[in-house]
Symmetry: C2
């Protein structure tokens, strides 16, 4: 190809990308609006709009034209003459297109319809605590996903290709190692905590805390964290989330419980972590498919870094506890900082993932990972899921669900066939601990900064080592460059051990 | 064409329409969001999305494919075999496409750029009260519009084709007659009012009225009017508007002035009139281009019917004044209903259109109409606008702007070359009065219903005779079918004469 024709292809490629990004931005606004502002009767018509725009994105991604552009740009004689951004953009597209076109379009349509139906059946099943209702749908979802695995192909373990959708480059081989280490380490810590005599009264956490005051306090904290309100906003929803429309518009939502302020405060900090990531992608990635999170795990590393390593840190509260007391209107005036800190970090094995404490959370994830893996090797049938689920909860956490609503039916993920997604949560947690350990080398006074309310240097470190790259680096590349190592569960275990040894005095 | 191939064309035609409607719905959500919720930094990226989606709509409308479908469906041998909805949908598209394709695409691009620039220059000029700044832009906008008139062609008067964009079927010939009658009638009424000795103190209108209370009262009134909150919502903006995303989602906004509650109350009722229109299009028009307002004038007839014929009616306040007093926290307790009614209907010739009272409002419109018409016949040059503007204000209203910021620069319309739009406001007012007169024949106890807070029968009449048809009927068809006559200024004049004779006792 001549230089001119390469430039033309590059230009045409990014023109198509621009359209795709425009549709995705419109779709994201629609999703945000549906969950925050849209009136009930909007939904029916809006669903058709979603259908049309999603269809257009599919068409644009898989068009002859796009496949030609990608092919030309990745041609060995051409790619060396292109910028890193163009090459990686084309590679990103190629990967997505390959996944899409390998699935026959009638099967894909069938799958999308099945997802939609399954989600509403799951809701009913959860409500009624009746796994049998959901079972036939889950069986079909697993079957279709198995077929898709066949179309996509895989290396090593069939679950690898599922993982790769959410965490490029992650494999069962790597996860088995770190998850075993993590699981055993956490279970040992749990035993120590259960053996500890330290107990306290944390009733005060449930003091009535008016929603407006919680909101005002949350806004203060968001400003402190460096969430840019000129490029975002905070709203209220049943299920909190963060969503990036463009780099100048990354919105978050939260949920208020007037009998438990932790829901809003830690939820807001968590979503702010996601949002601050997206507010700080490099400008030079704008208009390319690399302007996005590197993976679900890296995304979660940012939310969990904020929620746990900042928000549940003693020194963060050293600075903010006085403020919280003011907003709470004197409710915590008789509670010492230390008692407060212990209370918000109490460990209590429980049945529900999204209500889990910092220590036991990874066990919830590891259980799901083990079950999913077994489903796709065929070692486990859908029919056996509830019993095995309950056994694992008893084994790892020492609690057993009384019904499937609090067990196998609790999460929405499987109803949309998002198999391979769960590990991201625990991966993100490990990544976060690894980043924290690396950060301490250049910011040894991390705790002192928090105690002074100076979070900017911490945020800047994260932007420099993680945020700015968007999808320009793969997850494990980010980790290697920032932390100088591969996936490693030790940092998280060290952090947890140190933290709970202090709290539970063992 | 065979029956099968006609059906195929019809299906393919509506598939294309579905896409266009989806893009338009997404665009409308973007506009709503930009004016109500979006953070400042969202704008740059969002503008590109608007550009992309607007471009796609243009492509879809003017594609070879679409033109073929429209041509086939409107073929004399075919159209007779189609439903009314299909034929009128194709006709609607044909008209829009014809307008679009007659303008060379490079000139259109140039025009769009000029519009964007002109709007920001206009803002600055208005701010600085400096017409000279805006003049060269306005000259270009007029010149390009003249060229477009040449491309489009016209019958009778060149201004007719501009009118037709907003009010299909309306002509200078018709407007000249009714506007002259209206102008003379209003000027005579103004003289009577100025000769009247009835004056009163309306200072109480400026009592402090907290925003939250105004909002709560507005919501009460909206419910009374039958605005469906399951298909809409109320937000706050600098410039109030109504926007229909789909039939189940028609949103309105309002503005609060704590020193003048009338801004929010009457503004909300006005926008509710627009919204109730769009909430009541017939279901059978869904998915077609006929699911929209018949014209700007018909749209305005619904907002003005609500604002003036309901909201400024003595009996409406007979029912609601007690409620207002409650929300106002006793501020109006010493003001009688009659004094209140007189105060909110005070006539005071003024310089600013959007602040005008019910009587003098049409004069503001007629001035703009006379000027626009003269611009396009060449009788008037842009350079002469400010002086002629001021002269006409002095002649019709007895007031003269001290600077162009309060004169020729006050409205945004010309900066986007929306020539032909202004008459809709006065047309809507006349339509509303004609509809009211017709309605009285089947609802003679109109005032008594208002006095009981029973607005449903009134709304239902409007739905039956206006709302449901969307674009299935042309404006003058709606008028003829509902009121049994053509455009007629007498009803509005009668209404105004009766109302002000009571208030000013002449």
């Amino acid at each position: 190809m001549t230089v001119t024709s390469i430039q033309q292809t590059e230009k045409a490629f990014f023109e198509e990308i621009k359209k795709i990004l425009a549709y995705q931005e419109a779709l994201n606004l629609i999703y945000w609006d549906l969950r925050t502002k849209a009136p009930a009767k909007a939904v029916e018509g809006r669903s058709q709009v979603i259908g049309t725009l999603t269809g257009e994105v599919y068409q644009l991604m898989t068009s002859e034209k796009m496949r030609e552009y990608v092919g030309e740009l990745l041609d060995p004689g051409v790619r060396d003459r292109l910028s890193e951004i163009t090459v990686k953009s084309a590679e990103h597209l190629k990967k997505e297109i390959d996944r899409m076109i390998k699935i026959p379009s009638d099967e894909y349509r069938q799958f999308v319809e099945l997802q939609a139906k399954s989600e509403s059946v799951w809701e009913e099943a959860k409500e009624k605590r009746d796994f049998q209702l959901f079972k036939p749908y889950l069986e079909q979802l697993v079957e279709m996903t198995k077929k898709f695995i066949g179309y996509w192909g895989y290396e090593g373990h069939p679950y690898n290709t599922l993982l790769d959708q959410y965490e490029p480059g992650m494999t069962v081989e790597q996860l088995d190692t770190v998850f075993r280490q993590l699981r055993d380490g956490i279970v040992r810590l749990l035993e120590k905590i259960e053996g500890s005599n330290v107990r306290w009264n944390s009733e005060f956490l449930h003091t009535h805390f008016p929603k407006e005051k919680q909101e005002a306090f949350s806004l203060e904290i968001l400003r402190q964290l460096g969430y840019d309100f000129a490029a975002g906003r905070l709203d209220e929803t049943v299920h909190p989330f963060a969503i990036g429309l463009n780099g100048g518009d990354v919105r978050i939502t939260t949920k208020y419980n007037e009998q438990d302020f932790r829901v809003a405060i830690f939820g807001t900090i968590h979503e702010a972590g996601h949002a601050i990531y997206e507010q700080n992608f490099s400008e030079r990635l704008k208009g390319t498919p690399l302007f996005g999170g590197a993976s679900m795990g890296i995304h979660e590393s940012q939310s969990l870094f904020h929620e746990n390593f900042i928000g549940r840190n003693l020194h963060f509260w050293e600075y903010n506890y006085g403020l919280l007391k003011q907003y709470a209107g004197g409710a915590f005036d008789s509670v010492s900082l230390d008692d407060f800190y212990r209370a918000i970090n109490e460990v209590k094995p429980s049945l529900i993932r999204i209500e889990a404490d910092e220590l036991t959370y990874p066990l919830h994830i590891i259980i799901r990972y083990e079950l999913e893996k077994a489903l796709f090797t065929g070692e486990l049938a859908v029919d056996d899921l509830p019993a095995v689920w309950n056994d694992k909860y008893e084994q790892y956490l020492g609690v057993r669900p009384e019904h499937d609503g609090h067990g196998v039916l609790q999460d929405v993920h499987w109803s949309s066939a998002s198999f391979g997604y769960f590990p991201s949560y625990a991966l993100g947690y490990m990544y976060a601990a690894q980043l924290k350990a690396a950060m301490l080398k250049s910011i040894p006074d991390f705790d002192r900064l928090l105690a002074k309310g100076e979070i900017a240097p911490i945020r800047k470190w994260l932007t420099e080592h993680v945020h700015q790259y968007g999808r320009l680096k793969k997850p494990l590349e980010i980790l290697r460059d920032a932390a100088g190592e591969g996936l490693n569960a030790s940092h998280l275990l060290n952090y947890l051990r140190e933290k709970y040894a202090y709290i539970y005095q063992f």
